[in-house]
Symmetry: C2
Subunit: 492 residues, 2 copies
């Protein structure tokens, strides 16, 4: 198979777009801004879902499902949230088509089927969920509510890119309600940590935990926690957010509870989500010019076995040997595919599985049968070695663990060498343009400065890292005093 993949150094953005399509992850659909997630891409998303879902349940959350539509009056109840999303709302105004009298075989919107109130296709579900919570909460005994939803949401985008920015995307959104401010903050932080552990331990993507500035905060939140990752082109990607909503939605939807003393109080809320955007982060963190590189935890196929043969007798002998290996690998919970297609040559198969990021490739030929060996190749390092068949299944199983760790460490090294402290705006611009990555700089804390820097450099404040230390300094832009460095970067 000919890959013809644009290289990262040629054009990173083009490389990404081509790779997503050629590796069968997703493609653009006939619907503006909406993607089709293809089976191979969806299988990776299913692995993410399963692990996240396990973590959510382990931390006491339950799944539920709330409506796709939000009536306009409900949508606008929390004003900041509504204002934040108003410009990207798909709006249902009618509920029936009819035959077009002027065009036989064509349909038209039936003007007599106009809705009394327009319905917004949810861009996020705080409004519909808090309007429901009103009926679920009377007393402190009904709290906390710890609920998650797996759903599709729609945010109308003018410029879209597969996984990174699409009009419709898949996500999970947690929505919790608590009796106290402290408990809600604890929940927001807990879920940020769940996301960080998931990104690092499962996706092998190192992340920085931090707080968003007011400008970058979720519309309607008092505080937004985030995890920020760094892509190979030096741009940051927000990989997950967890919001402390204060009592904003409780007040907008009148959700009160009787506390232990019988006094009525407003409920405290959080919401948190990750989306199919993580697929983009996955591709851009690990992959190379040969194609996808998948961490073993996320690979739909962890090991592919390719037979090398000339005659049918050779193939039969190889297949018999391979059957034993497959059985032994499956016992170790390794997912294996035996690519015994007769329509393609080994070289084509090698290239195809490289493109699709299968972590380990095993090749077996007649020589291997004679010698009792297999050729084992790593996708991440593109190296291979010949191994004795004795204990090969344990070797491969251990190798998958090693690859998972190596991918994380490689990404961590890249990230750590791309966080640069700067102390002047000149330095800021030089680092941003020449090296990229996170620029750690003092900032005077004002939205005005943040905006000016963005206008001049396209860099935004990705976060105020949770582990940043107090340090007297001056804002790189205004020279005004600052007590903490924040992280700037260009971002997806």
């Amino acid at each position: 198979m000919s890959k013809n993949l644009t290289t990262r150094s040629e054009d990173y953005s083009k490389w990404y777009n081509e790779l997503v399509v050629k590796a069968d992850l997703a493609e653009n659909s006939g619907v503006r801004g909406c993607m089709v997630i293809k089976p191979y891409g969806y299988a990776i998303w299913e692995k993410m879902q399963a692990e996240l879902d396990r973590k959510f349940k382990e931390t006491g959350h339950e799944n539920a499902y709330f409506p796709l539509f939000v009536p306009k009056s409900m949508f606008e109840a929390e004003e900041k949230n509504a204002e934040g999303f108003a410009k990207e709302c798909a709006i249902v105004t009618h509920y029936r088509l009819k035959n077009d009298p002027d065009k036989p075989g064509k349909l038209m919107v039936d003007p007599n089927a106009k809705l009394e109130e327009e319905l917004i296709v949810r861009p996020t579900s705080e409004a519909i969920i808090w309007s429901t919570y009103k009926g679920w909460v009377q007393s402190y005994r009904d709290l906390p509510l710890l609920i998650n939803q797996w759903a599709n949401v729609v945010r109308w985008e003018m410029r879209t890119r597969l996984f990174l920015r699409t009009a419709e995307f898949l996500w999970q959104e947690g929505h919790t309600a608590h009796a106290t401010r402290a408990e809600a903050i604890e929940e927001s932080e807990k879920m940020m940590n769940v996301y960080a552990d998931f990104a690092q331990d499962f996706m092998a993507i190192p992340v920085i935990k931090g707080l968003k500035t007011e400008t970058e905060r979720f519309a309607g939140a008092e505080e937004t926690y985030c995890i920020e990752a760094l892509m190979q082109d030096g741009k940051a990607l927000q990989a997950g957010t967890s919001h402390f909503l204060g009592q904003n939605f409780a007040k907008a939807f009148d959700v009160k509870f009787a506390n232990a003393e019988g006094k009525q109080e407003y409920v405290w809320g959080t919401s948190w989500g990750v989306s199919t955007r993580l697929m983009g982060a996955l591709v851009m963190t690990h992959s190379d010019d040969q194609g996808l590189v998948l961490p073993p935890n996320l690979a739909p196929i962890q090991v592919v076995i390719v037979p090398i043969y000339k005659t049918d007798e050779q193939l039969d002998a190889i297949t018999a040997e391979v059957a034993v290996l497959i059985a032994n690998l499956r016992k170790l919970n390794v997912s294996v595919k035996y690519d015994n297609r007769t329509t393609q040559k080994p070289g084509f198969k090698f290239a195809e599985w490289e493109l699709k990021g299968v972590p380990v490739r095993v090749a077996v030929g007649p020589k291997d049968l004679e010698n009792g060996t297999f050729e084992v190749a790593r996708r991440d390092t593109l190296t291979k070695e010949v191994k004795s068949k004795d204990g090969i299944e344990t070797y491969i199983s251990d190798l998958l663990v090693q690859i998972q760790a190596d991918l994380f460490n490689k990404a961590l090294t890249y990230r750590d060498t791309h966080v640069t402290e700067v102390n002047s705006f000149e330095e800021f611009k030089t680092v941003l343009n020449d090296k990229g990555g996170f620029v750690s700089a003092h900032w005077d804390g004002t939205a005005a400065t943040e905006e000016k820097i963005k206008d001049l450099t396209k860099a935004t404040i990705r976060c105020i890292p949770l582990d940043s230390v107090e340090e007297a300094g001056v804002c790189v832009f205004t020279g005004n005093p600052s007590s903490k460095r924040v992280l700037f970067a260009k971002a997806y």
Copy 2:
């Protein structure tokens, strides 16, 4: 807890509506016709999903995801399908809200953000999927495509009922493409059988497999296979359908392939789906006047343990004993809840878990501790017995298997005694009104007769059973000749 549940004999329909809400399965939302699926209901749906998903993958299918929206021109490409769904389409016409200049704090649809082409919120996904398949199929080597999607769909309904008929519902929809007519028919039949096995073996709901008449067929299909279940009020419920689409969608979307001889042919298609409607079937097949009755396979909690105590010392002793039981049950993969709430009395707890359909309840008091016993109660039969603690976990685990089987057999007996052969229209009406259930009758095969019978009796032809035998007879309505009996019933 006071249940205050309307009984089935008082008002079956009211009983159902109350039960769904009181057992925390679902509730109506603030959005017309859309429901909220509550955590307890969603946990049951998740069990259905997991088992179906396993069966789909076992039969070679992969999951993918296609857009929520269908542009109008794409929607109307397959005319019969478009016509069939046109009257129930939610239509997106605009993509932005703006501040309403006349009403501070309110939003309005921005008239400058009108879409060039209206988007239909998918009522089913054949159109969008077949427009995608066009790009995926060139040669016979690309076939079959065996793809499933878990998604939400919207069909605008004027009169809605929780789970049974809602504007938005959750479902899975399989969409497959094949090189030959025979292979596509085989696939449609295979998936009907997958659904039948699932309904019977997993949900304990007996079903009749059959074909729909032309009137009842899916819009755009050549043949619709279905599974029909019978509810306790004698009304039928269509529990799943599998459609042989012929080449209709391939022709509408120009999906052709080069066969082994290099000749261009249209692809053959199928589609098949089940939805959250199955939740309604579940409730109406097994439940009783005390509340839900859940087959153990679907119960989020299979065993609930309630301590009976007066003093804290007694509770501590019971808890210690119960800890052992819980550990032993979990080893046998039984899901257990220990209801040690101190805020509620045992009677309240008994009633609550009865309402929620937990298959087995274990009660333990100080007497049991002395005697080394537990009291074990079955939800389905409302019977209880005292059992020695020796081997209790195996007893309970076996009991769950027994309950699953008993529920199926009970429903099967009810169903089998409610299939009545009739040979005149008088008899037809009498059986339908006095006894209900399926009425097995000769029919002359015309849509006109079918419609007249429906107008007069509200009964429709549920299916032409696959196992119906050739038998010379005359149509109960017109007296015209007929060679097969079909099944009529009033239906949900």
